[in-house]
């Protein structure tokens, strides 16, 4: 057998394993180079770039409204938030007012998208730890959300719904009723999920105390969203730097509390996401009850020429802060667009925390950090 075993001295030998680019648990095309000693890892080095599509370069040759559909492709699980982040940047650059109904619709669509994205994440975590059924159940619920969003805006994954100045399509009362019907159904499913898998002792034991990320590390490496909150940092852009309609809404921000182990372990990252499902349902219910009549898009011309300047705008996506940095030179094409995505920083911490983990733990770490390859590579 010609296995590569690196000699590192008398007592130290390590096995170099190549995990990916085509591996069932790497969530897209990405690669890890594992330096292991049997099952225990010395180091796991992520190698990304297999899904690099040059979205930032493309921006330099498209118009502002023409770039919005490209933002769908930043992350295929949360297209709504990428739309919103970019639209928000241009709105603040060129002072466009967004009508209130559009803001409510953005919140509803965004939270639906968040539920859909978390469904995939939670499902993938359980699937990577061996339980396949919860993944299929959650995918089934996501399918209904996709149907709802398709009825709203015509596409299931690449929505192109949030536009500069508002949203593209109005929602009728029937659609809102259907969303409410779905929420009634989905809240029961969350309960069922708790019984089916969340507190399953095997799952808890697999994730508790594994790969603890301290609050300092989380902030230093720039973790955002659920990953940051799981480490005990109480921060949510929707609440702390409010935008859109969120200041008017009442919701809680789940924080990792070390429920089964240490604060910031895999289980915290997992359970924070499960809790967020319920909060999203709460937000959508409030929006449906309070949504006013009115326009859905502000006064925007087809040709948008923001004044010279630059802006960094961010929204709280399903993977946390999804930011976009836009430099305008006064023409109708952006001078520079830069995406700041949650998965990118989450990926950068893996090498730091991987020492001493087992191969099976690494799978849990990748899954709970919710790393999505297209978002890291853009």
């Amino acid at each position: 057998m010609t296995t590569v075993i690196r000699e590192l001295g008398d007592e130290q030998r390590e096995l170099v394993l190549n995990m990916g680019p085509h591996h069932p648990s790497t969530h897209g095309v990405l690669r890890f180079v594992l330096h292991t000693d049997g099952e225990v890892m010395r180091k796991a080095v992520p190698e990304i770039g297999y899904l690099h599509r040059g979205l930032e370069k493309i921006a330099e040759s498209t118009t502002y409204p023409g770039y919005v559909p490209y933002t769908d492709r930043v992350n295929y699980l949360e297209a709504m938030f990428a739309n919103e982040a970019f639209s928000k940047a241009i709105e603040s650059l060129s002072d466009i007012e967004v009508p209130e109904r559009a803001q409510y619709l953005r919140a509803i669509a965004g939270e639906l998208n968040r539920i859909a994205s978390h469904n995939i994440t939670i499902g993938c975590i359980t699937m990577d730890l061996g339980a396949i059924t919860p993944f299929v159940h959650l995918l089934r619920e996501r399918e209904t959300i996709n149907d709802l969003i398709e009825a709203l805006c015509g596409q299931r994954v690449t929505h192109h719904y949030v536009r500069i100045g508002g949203v593209a399509y109005d929602a009728d009362d029937n659609w809102l009723k259907q969303v409410e019907k779905f929420l009634n159904h989905f809240e029961a499913i969350i309960e069922e999920l708790d019984n089916l898998i969340v507190y399953n002792e095997i799952l808890v034991k697999r994730m508790a105390d594994v790969a603890v990320i301290t609050a300092d590390d989380a902030v230093g490496f720039g973790l955002v969203g659920p990953n940051l909150r799981a480490s005990g940092v109480d921060w949510d852009l929707r609440r702390d730097m409010p935008y859109g309609i969120y200041p008017k809404l009442d919701f809680d921000v789940p924080i990792g509390a070390g429920e089964k182990g240490t604060v910031g372990d895999c289980f915290d990252r997992f359970v924070v996401r499960v809790r967020e499902l319920k909060q999203s349902c709460r937000i959508i219910r409030q929006c449906i009850n309070n949504i006013p009549d009115g326009d859905i898009i502000g006064n925007v011309s087809r040709k948008i020429k923001p004044p010279k300047g630059e802006v960094y705008s961010c929204v709280e996506g399903a993977r946390g802060e999804l930011g976009v940095y836009v430099v305008s030179d006064g023409t109708e094409k952006p001078y520079r667009v830069k995406w700041r995505s949650g998965s990118f920083s989450a990926m950068s911490i893996i090498e730091h925390i991987s020492e001493g983990l087992m191969i099976a733990d690494l799978v849990a770490v990748i899954a709970t950090l919710d790393v999505i390859a297209p978002e890291t590579d853009r």
Partner: protein, 190 residues
């Protein structure tokens, strides 16, 4: 003592949580599956179950197109090519070519929103498999003809959604396969 208690607690927790999980999955045996048996056991073609706003493959009605090329200017990826020529004698503008490269199209709908004459729109068709990517360039102009001149205040006469593209799909995408399967099944049913 505490350790011993924890030892048995762990056993108890494992049995309880696992058996409750088993109860959930067992209850699923009595629920209805949600599978849609696409493509061959649905009551009607899936395209007709899609919602109103569904954005499928683009289609263009030659009788409504004025050749203004607003759509191709809006397109972020330039997948629409329009060729309009002026006839020197009659001064009429002739629409020679209207090609949409569906292999490039990202179904954003900007061209549809730009069209003032309802000539270009999304159909609900989505099945576009071909063996050669270049066959995805569809020319919607069968015969070069003068462009449409809609009168003001008159509503355009719209064809049923999908009727135009379906013709191209059936003709262009799998002529051989289609014909043989048609004759086969026709022969058997008669």
């Amino acid at each position: 003592m505490g350790q011993l208690a924890e030892y048995f607690n762990a056993i108890g927790r494992t049995i309880l949580t696992c058996s409750d999980g088993l109860a959930v999955t067992f209850s699923h045996l009595f629920r209805k599956p949600i599978t849609i048996q696409y493509p061959d056991r649905t009551a009607k073609p899936l395209t007709e179950m899609l919602p109103e706003r569904s954005r499928g493959i683009l289609e263009m009605d030659q009788e409504l197109c004025t050749g203004c090329s607003l759509c191709s200017k809006q397109c972020p990826i330039n997948c629409i090519t329009i060729d309009v020529q002026k006839n020197a004698e009659t001064k009429e503008r002739i629409l020679n070519k209207f090609v949409i490269d569906i292999g490039k199209c990202m179904f954003c709908g900007l061209c549809v929103e730009a069209c003032k004459f309802s000539a270009i729109r999304h159909s609900k068709e989505f099945e576009g498999t071909v063996s050669d990517v270049n066959r995805l360039k569809i020319n919607f102009v069968e015969q070069p003809a003068p462009v449409a001149k809609p009168k003001k205040g008159e509503d355009p006469v719209l064809k049923p959604v999908g009727s135009i593209i379906r013709k191209y799909l059936a003709d262009q995408w799998a002529p051989a396969a289609n014909k043989s399967s048609d004759t086969n099944s026709g022969g058997k049913s008669e």
